[in-house]
């Protein structure tokens, strides 16, 4: 690079012509204009895009599949340890406070985020095997006061064990 030091010195002696005097005024006016009139030319940082969380999507799909499985075998389940609030519809949720007329239940969601198949088991005194499924869920209940618009949201984890009879073939 030292071979070019003299040439670089000569190049630096060349002075770029200054912009016209009104360029700064034009920029000042443009900066004062609303931003919505400007295009981005695809260079400047763009607005954040919605990113798909594939893990969450997978868990959600798995949860939906498990719920469908439960719905299919639900009538055969011999044991059901279901909390009252988890199995209820929004209209059946018990009002939170004593002044129940003020808060009305508006939503109940149950998200299954983990399930495990614990294999076949024989219940005590039974000769028929059952498959034990354990699911971890998070249930969220929401109440709303229609007068004030205030909302109360309660979220808690829950665990459910399902025993599904298995018939041998």
């Amino acid at each position: 690079m030292n071979d070019f030091s003299e040439l670089e010195g000569q190049l630096k002696k060349l002075r770029p012509l200054p912009p016209s005097e009104n360029l700064a005024e034009r920029i000042e006016r443009a900066l004062a204009e609303p931003t919505s009139t400007m295009s981005t030319a695809g260079i400047l940082p763009r607005a954040a895009r919605l990113r798909i969380n594939w893990l969450s999507l997978g868990v959600s799909l798995a949860a939906a599949a498990v719920l469908l499985l439960f719905a299919r075998f639900g009538v055969d389940r011999p044991v059901k340890k279901t909390p009252t609030i988890a199995s209820g519809t929004p209209s059946s949720i018990v009002p939170l406070a004593s002044n129940a007329s003020e808060f009305v239940p508006v939503g109940l969601t149950q998200v299954v985020y983990h399930t495990s198949d614990e294999g076949l088991h024989y219940a005590t005194g039974s000769e028929q095997p059952v498959r034990r499924l354990r699911s971890h869920t998070r249930e969220t209940c929401q109440w709303r006061n229609p007068t004030t618009g205030a909302t109360i949201c309660v979220s808690y984890p829950s665990e459910e064990v399902s025993l599904i009879p298995v018939s041998g073939q």
């Binding site: 630096k12 002696k13 002075r15 012509l17 912009p19 700064a24 920029i27 981005t40 260079i43 400047l44």
Partner: protein, 178 residues
């Protein structure tokens, strides 16, 4: 009315450090304006078009950044808008291209030249391949590092340095033979 300040190259590095941390766009632009317009002239042939490009690029850049810490992004913005400018008006580009092919002397000067040797040197710079010329312009008259040049052009730092060396080699060869 803004007055353009010429940079003393002995203090250029210090000046650029101050500019890089200054948040007043007028101060930043007064320092960078000539170099930015020269950089835009790599793609457009008239000073007026180059100033339009620089105006659009600087406004967009400043609205998002409010400083010029990321100079590579500023020059990338100028470059992108200049290319977009040409694509937007293909007839203009063709006309300019034809004009350039017909008579090189009709191109507006880019430098304030003092003698014939400087004219010859400026002509030699104009005769460089585009990808080498843009690196030389960014390095010599805009004082960007090879890392910044690489970021602005989407090439590696080594490629930028290599193009710079090739350009200076060609200039040295041509300029000596003039």
């Amino acid at each position: 009315m803004m007055s353009w300040r010429r940079l003393d190259y002995k203090d250029r590095e210090e000046v650029m450090e101050n500019v890089a941390t200054h948040e007043d766009w007028k101060v930043c632009f007064s320092q960078l304006g000539p170099g930015l317009v020269l950089f835009a002239r790599n793609w457009v042939r008239s000073t007026a078009d180059a100033e339009d490009v620089v105006q659009e690029a600087f406004v967009k850049f400043w609205r998002r950044n409010h400083n010029i810490d990321n100079r590579a992004l500023l020059y990338a913005t100028v470059r992108s808008i200049a290319i977009d400018f040409i694509r937007r008006d293909s007839r203009r580009a063709r006309r300019e291209s034809d004009a350039v092919a017909e008579t090189e002397q009709s191109i507006e000067p880019k430098f304030a030249m003092e003698d014939e040797s400087q004219q010859a040197l400026a002509a030699a710079v104009d005769g460089l391949p585009g990808e080498q010329r843009e690196v030389v312009v960014m390095k010599i008259w805009n004082e960007l590092t090879f890392s910044e040049i690489g970021s602005a052009l989407g090439i590696s730092q080594n490629t930028a340095a290599s193009r710079y060396r090739y350009a200076l080699g060609a200039l040295k060869k041509n300029f000596v033979s003039l």
